[in-house]
């Protein structure tokens, strides 16, 4: 990448693009600090979908008439946008899915069911979201393969020293890891895991659901084999995500969902599969959602992912500094330079539900729970944490409000 002038991001003017911030909650403006669960949507994305429905909507691919051609062009254009976004070689490697979860299930079922067996090992990390944990556990269970964990240290970073122990006495076939942890924000050394996976002849599956909104994701640089995305985390609509997969692998794989659009020829005796990527896209696709997904990628692309990452890092650094001064607070996760804009924490003795509830009464929205990471919660020996997460529309005052709110919680329930 060329060296460019330092990226800048004007969160206040970005914020004006997001209609959700125009209303008040409990008589106060909204501090939405839960973007790691799902991001808000800018007008540009909503406009793109509406315009699509109003002027270009039809079912795609088979229609001869103009409207169907327009719709197909928009849908395939969105695929091209995603292809560039992750720096893939070809749009044939981009499969539209419902979200990252389904993308990961597609790999687990379609690759896993047919390639795993007794003696084989699937390695996941203790940091995984359930969506990159449970599918592997389930398919390993069905096929007789074994599931093993890369553990984390107390700072929430992967323990990579004993990887070779982990590999002992088994045939590693899959390594699955998230790029950024949604619970504690850790940025994982995916390149290193890919190299290790490939040394063992295993495939490397990357869950980039939480990374893609915050930093550039480049499948060539990561040298992985599969990568999963969700639109709704990066300011796009719900109902759509994508799987990138290495073509040689996708070509050898069985399809997952079956039905319309993914076939070549159907007879009673036998069905043959269509070409990539259609082989994996059964039924009517998330057409308008794909258009919105692409509009969101364009939107965050215009802001600049480097700028977004820097903005979040400034916020996290600042927030962490002020939060650790609160008496009895415990924060989880690595230092700011190795994490995305996510802070998980607990206030000693006060349940996260109460923290989140009291903050909400002041219009500050954070998440409280296990964040779909129960293995990680067990590791830290808690049932739940509070999580504040930042995004391109987060302004510094929201951190003030968060910190003030936490002081108030302590006064009330401490």
């Amino acid at each position: 990448m060329a060296v460019t002038a330092k990226p800048k991001l004007d969160a206040r003017s970005i914020r004006a693009d997001f209609p959700i911030f125009e209303q008040q909650f409990h008589g106060k403006p909204l501090s939405f600090l839960d973007s790691a669960a799902s991001a808000q949507k800018p007008r540009q994305v909503l406009d793109a979908m509406r315009a699509f429905y109003e002027t270009s909507y039809a079912n795609v691919h088979r229609g001869v008439y103009q409207l169907a051609e327009r719709a197909t062009e928009a849908y395939e254009g969105a695929r091209q946008t995603i292809c560039s976004f992750v720096n893939a070689d070809s749009t044939r490697e981009i499969i539209f899915t419902r979200q990252a979860t389904e993308a990961l299930n597609l790999v687990a079922y379609s690759w896993g069911l047919n390639n795993l067996g007794p003696g084989d090992v699937v390695v996941v990390t203790e940091l995984e979201h359930h969506s990159n944990f449970v599918p592997w556990q389930y398919i390993a269970g069905r096929t007789g393969a074994e599931l093993r964990l890369i553990r984390i240290d107390d700072a929430g970073e992967l323990e990579l020293d004993n990887l070779d122990e982990l590999a002992a006495g088994g045939n590693i076939k899959v390594v699955a890891a998230n790029y950024v942890s949604n619970s504690i924000g850790t940025v994982n050394p995916v390149e290193r895991l890919s190299a290790w996976a490939h040394e063992h002849g295993a495939i490397m599956v990357v869950d980039a659901a939480q990374a893609a909104p915050h930093r550039p994701v480049d499948v060539q640089a990561l040298d992985c084999d599969f990568l999963a995305l969700s639109s709704h985390k990066l300011c796009g609509p719900t109902g759509v995500g994508a799987l990138w997969g290495r073509r040689e692998l996708l070509e050898k794989m069985e399809p997952f969902n079956l039905g319309g659009h993914m076939i070549r020829k159907v007879t009673l005796e036998r069905t043959t599969w269509g070409e990539l990527p259609y082989k994996f896209e059964a039924g009517t696709g998330p057409i308008a959602e794909a258009v919105g997904f692409a509009a969101a990628i364009d939107y965050i692309g215009r802001v600049g992912l480097e700028a977004i990452e820097e903005h979040e890092q400034t916020l996290v650094t600042n927030a962490l500094e002020r939060m650790i001064e609160i008496d009895g607070i415990v924060t989880y996760g690595p230092p700011p330079e190795r994490r995305a804009g996510i802070i998980s924490f607990n206030l000693d003795g006060i349940h996260p539900h109460d923290v989140a509830q009291i903050l909400d009464l002041d219009g500050v929205a954070i998440r409280a729970g296990h964040h779909c990471c129960q293995p990680l919660m067990s590791r830290f020996n808690v049932a739940a944490t509070n999580r504040a997460s930042f995004y391109l529309y987060t302004v510094p005052e929201e951190i003030d409000r968060l910190v003030e709110g936490l002081h108030k919680v302590k006064r009330m329930l401490g």
Partner: protein
């Protein structure tokens, strides 16, 4: 009254800070654990029956949860002591909710009635009292 005062009214805070019936019972006549799948909170309930076996003599609970769930379970222990097993097995959740007396959103409702559900499971296991499906499955995890 502010929204805060509504939600965390004095009696709730009192039960939360000084929970009644908090602890473990060594030789319980009935016992169950359960959890709220939405937040991962876990509660254990211990019951001892009166000599006739038909009445709840004492109830204790352990586990951790939010103020609402802790206070609600604490109130529950006070509410059920001395009442008949059958009566409590059939106790509508509304009776507990009335006692709690604060407006609850669906997600907080689950916190408030977790203890009651686990108590019903404990009675079901010890006495075979009916367990409407609303309450089933709370204890499915004891094996893990």
């Amino acid at each position: 009254m502010t929204e805060f005062d509504q939600l965390y009214r004095e009696v709730i805070l009192d039960h939360y800070k000084n929970p009644r019936g908090h602890g473990v019972m060594e030789h319980a006549d009935a016992q169950a654990e359960g959890q709220n799948p939405f937040c991962g909170d876990e509660v254990s309930i211990y019951v001892s029956f009166g000599d006739d076996g038909d009445r709840i003599e004492d109830v204790k609970f352990s586990g951790r949860g939010c103020a609402i769930s802790q206070a609600a379970t604490s109130m529950l222990t006070e509410m059920v002591k001395g009442r008949s097993v059958v009566e409590i097995a059939e106790l509508p959740k509304e009776e507990l909710l009335e006692e709690i007396g604060i407006p609850l959103t669906p997600i907080r409702l689950k916190c408030a009635i977790l203890g009651l559900g686990v108590l019903k499971v404990a009675l079901h296991k010890a006495k075979g009292t009916p367990l409407p499906e609303e309450w089933a499955g709370l204890d499915e995890l004891q094996l893990t």
